[in-house]
Structure formats: C-alpha cells, structure tokens
Amino acid sequence: MAPFTMREKSILADLKVTIGKELFENPVWVASGTFGYGTEAPELVDVDRLGAIVTKSITRHPREGNPPPRIVETPSGMINSIGLANIGVEKYIKDLLPIYEGLSTKVIMNIAGTDIQEYIEIIEMMESVSSVLIGYEINISCPNVKKGGMEFGVDCDMTAILTEKLRDITERLIIMKLSPNVSDIVSIGVSAENAGADAVSAINTVVGMSINAKTGMSDIYTNYGGLSGPAIKPVGLAAVHKLHQKLEIPIIGIGGIVSGEDTAEYMLAGATAVQVGTANFRNPGITENIIDSLTLYLNESNRSSVTELIGKVHTYS
C-alpha cells in the first residue's frame, strides 16, 4: 500500500479535480455499495489515498435487504440484488460520522428513499448535525427494490422535483446517480442539471438475470438484479459521453472500471471523476493500483494534469 514511488512526486502529473466547490485529491473514488461504510478492510486499503468514498445507500430506517441468494458471477461481470441492506440514518450518524471525522479523504453519503419526502427527511437529519460529509449522492436508480428508487430514475419530472427540493435544503454537493435502464439517460441528466444538481454520476447497474441450467433455478432470489463489472463498461462509457455532449455540470463515470486505463477512457469520454465498484470485491486495494497506473499513464502521455483528459476523446465524426 505504499504510495507511488516511481518518480519524484514533484514531476508527477497533477491528479486534482474539482466538482462544485469541492477540490478532490484525485478522481478515483469508490462506488456506493461496493466498499461498505469504508471501514471494513483497513488492512487492505489506505482509504486516505482515495479521491472520495461514497458510502453504501442509506435509507430513513434500517433495512435488512433481500433474502439470499443475492449475488452471482456472470461473464466479465456479476449480478447483485442486495436490496439496500443498510443500518439506517440514525445509526449512520451515531456510529459512522465520528469515524469519518478521522479520515482525510472526502466522504459522500449515498441516499435512497421510497418517496421524495423520505429523501428530504434524511438530508434534513444530516444537515442538523455537524459532520465532515462533503455531499450527497442521490440514488434514484437502484434496480433491486420494488418501491421507490427506479420510479424517479426513469422520469424527468420527478428527477427535477426531487433535485430542486434537495437543493433547497443543503449547500453540500448534490450528485444525482442515473440509471442506464431508460430510453433516454441524457434528458434525465438535463433535468437534474436544470434543477440545481452539482453533478451527475452514471451509471448504476443494468437490469439482468442469471439462471443455472444444471439446477433450473434462478440464481438470485429476486430474479432480477443489477449487472456490474467490466461487461458494462461500454454502456457506462456511452452514457458518460452522451451526457457530456449536453451537460455543463461535471459527470462522474461508473461502470466496469478496473484500471488506470479504464479511468482515462471514462475521463476522455467526459467524466471529471470515476467510481470503482465491482473491482473492489476482487481486491479492496485496487483503487490504489488504479491511482498509480493513472499517474503513470498521464506521465507517459505527457499530460501534466488529469483534467486535460476530460472530454478529450478524438472522434471520427
């Protein structure tokens, strides 16, 4: 877990990126739900090297989540249907905020609700206590819960209303997390931007199913779950590139990122930062490798700042 040592720090490319009023040490974050509450694997990863931690989706009340089986591997990916298992906002405030005070990395709280009121309530509770949180990522796109979640994610008007209401009650970053399971992700991103979001993140998981031919069983209790991992990288890249053509606010790229090169590809497509999800399960410290290889990539391609990548893909047409 030693920091990058191949060259002198001074000549290394600058990894800092800005979103809203926040400056991040680097653009490599961990994705919600794939890094727990950030406290699970201290032996395996130095969280202070991360650009940011996005914590697991928190709901107003604790949720047990879906019955097992909850996950299964698929070609170059996996399906999950955790069902937003989480400790609820009270316990988050009580147990976790104090821990986050001790980190030097930035912490973003991911929030899920079943209706607009619930999102508002959670943020009001969070705003009423002091904390080092720098912002909220609003999960309007989880495919694994029946009530709530998806309904916003597929509807522009609801997205606009929700964003607007949350904007009214916090000055912290608001990042709307978009679903790929829609006919037109861009118009939803535009709605979020117009309603005052500081950024959008894309993508959440793609709806998928897995069946075991040997047993004839569905591999997941809820049948449908969310597909993630390298398999969906092309889907995430397309979403980010499309959003970048229309949006002014920063985009945070997510989907299948496992390397510094993947990060560069997302940034070339238009992302200002990225989140690493499934890859953490293979190696909870993989984000440190990604930061190192991104640095190397920038130096080898003679770029002095990672921001030089943003949206700079060369296209034929």
Binding site: P69, I71, M78
Partner: protein, 263 residues
C-alpha cells in the same frame, strides 16, 4: 488478513474430482487462527471471472497453507491445471474458527464431500492436543474418498452405495456415537442437506453443534453484503449490521446450530 502472492508447492489429485493444493504463503500462514477459516483465491488474471473463489484451509503450518478442492466449474478446473512453481494471489485468512472445545467434551467431527477440508484441519488440532475424538466422512462412493476407513481409530467412512465404509449417510455413525457418549460436541461441514439433518438431530438431543456453512461470496471481507444467510436467535451483529441476515464471510462460516435457519 492480507493479499499474498503465493507459490504452489504441490497440486495433486486425491480422489475422483478432488484435488489438494499446498501453498508457500508465509504471511497468511502466520495469521491463521484455527480450523474453519478460509482463503479467497484469484484463479485468473483476466476478468472473465471477476470474483475470487473461497476455499477452506485444510491444513496450515510453518509458512504453508493447503486446500482441498473439488472440480466444479471453470475456476476449479483452472486450479487443477496449475503446476508447482506457479503463483496464485491469495486473500486471507478470512472468517471465524470452530470454537475451542471444553476439555471435558467429546468432539465428533463430520465432513461431507469437500466439506471435509476444515474438518481435517480440526482433526489435526485434536491430534495435536491429544484430544480423543471421532471423525465421520461421507461421500457418494468409494471413488470420492481418499481417507482410510479406520473404525478402530475412530475414523468412519460412509458411502451412499456402500462401496466403502458404512452404507448410508454420516447420520448412521453419528447417531450411534453421539448417543453412546456424553458431553458430545458436533463439528460439521458439508452440503446444506447434511447440515440440516445434523442440526435437527443436535437440537432434538440437546447436543452442542457447530456448523460451517457455504454461501456465494463476492468479496470475502464484508464489503458486498452478498454472502448473507438467514440467521435466528442472534443479536444485531457489529459486522453484519443486521438481525435477520448474517454475513458468512465475517460472522461465519462457523455458526452455532441453533442460530442457523435453513428455510
């Protein structure tokens, strides 16, 4: 827990579709706390299979750890193709251990299929501490057994077809021995169907039982919440954060029989 690039010392077939692999892995070996723990193996360096594969520690010693694995799908097939000298990246040791026996209890160790890996590990501990015990290993037929049937040494094999040892399941010897001894503790690992019957038996006769269970694992370290199983009679656990479900990778794989809910 740590990620270590481990060199394969040996990799050989023990019985039909059952293999044993021994690793030179000093850091992980030093960390092992006891029988029941497992490691997560990265079986490939490409991403066709993003997830590691969990395998119980079958024995450990000075700088070494071994596993016993069954050929199941692509990843275990790939394991069997590795040669001594090759390297594999291991994450471990993970999970809890069978809890120590009281000095006055009589351990009955039960393994079904490759569930015998952690059971063998426990047997070594018993032998090491000179604790009298019985071991019962079940399998479909003689081909899948690689341990000798030594009833005189309290090692009982069973097979579905009677081709070696006793015909039938592990329940035959278990009932006989458990009911003819006092202060028995059962330690078992194997297919869910087997664990379910053992659980009923233990509860019916008020016998202590520790069961090591399996679950599909995403990360092995508590990050994904994928390995949840139903659990009852438990209090909210600090690591699983939940009442109804328990994360096998951090709270398990060993549970008291009374806590597990097999549905």
């Amino acid at each position: 827990m740590i990620i270590e690039r481990a060199q394969i010392i040996t990799n050989r077939k023990l019985a039909k579709d059952i293999w044993k692999m021994k690793f030179d892995t000093p850091k992980i070996a030093k960390d092992v706390k006891g029988a029941g723990q497992f490691i997560e193996i990265l079986t490939t360096d490409h991403w066709q299979h993003p997830l590691r594969r969990p395998m119980s520690i079958a024995s450990f010693g000075e700088g070494v750890v071994s596993i016993i694995y069954k050929l199941f799908g692509e990843s275990t097939l790939r394991l069997s193709q590795k040669r001594p000298g090759d390297f594999l990246e291991l994450l471990g040791p993970l999970g809890n251990t069978f809890s120590e026996w009281n000095n006055d209890s009589y351990p009955i160790l039960i393994g079904g299929g490759v569930g015998l890996a952690p059971i063998l590990n426990l047997k070594y501990a018993c032998d090491h501490h000179n604790i009298e015990h019985t071991m019962i290993i079940g399998a479909k037929n003689a081909e899948e057994h690689f341990i000798r049937n030594e009833p005189n040494n309290q090692i009982f094999l069973t097979t579905d077809d009677g081709s070696i040892g006793e015909k039938g399941t592990v329940m035959g010897p278990l009932e006989r021995i458990a009911l003819s001894n006092t202060n028995v503790t059962i330690y078992a690992c194997g297919p869910t169907a087997m664990l379910k019957v053992i659980k009923s038996f233990a509860l019916d006769h008020n016998i202590q039982a520790q069961l090591s269970v399996e679950s599909y694992m995403g990360c092995g370290v508590g990050l994904c919440q994928g390995c949840a199983i139903h659990r009852k009679n438990s209090t909210i656990n600090d690591r699983s954060y939940h009442e109804k479900y328990s994360l096998v990778c951090v709270d398990g794989p060993v549970y008291d029989a009374r806590e597990i809910y097999f549905g």
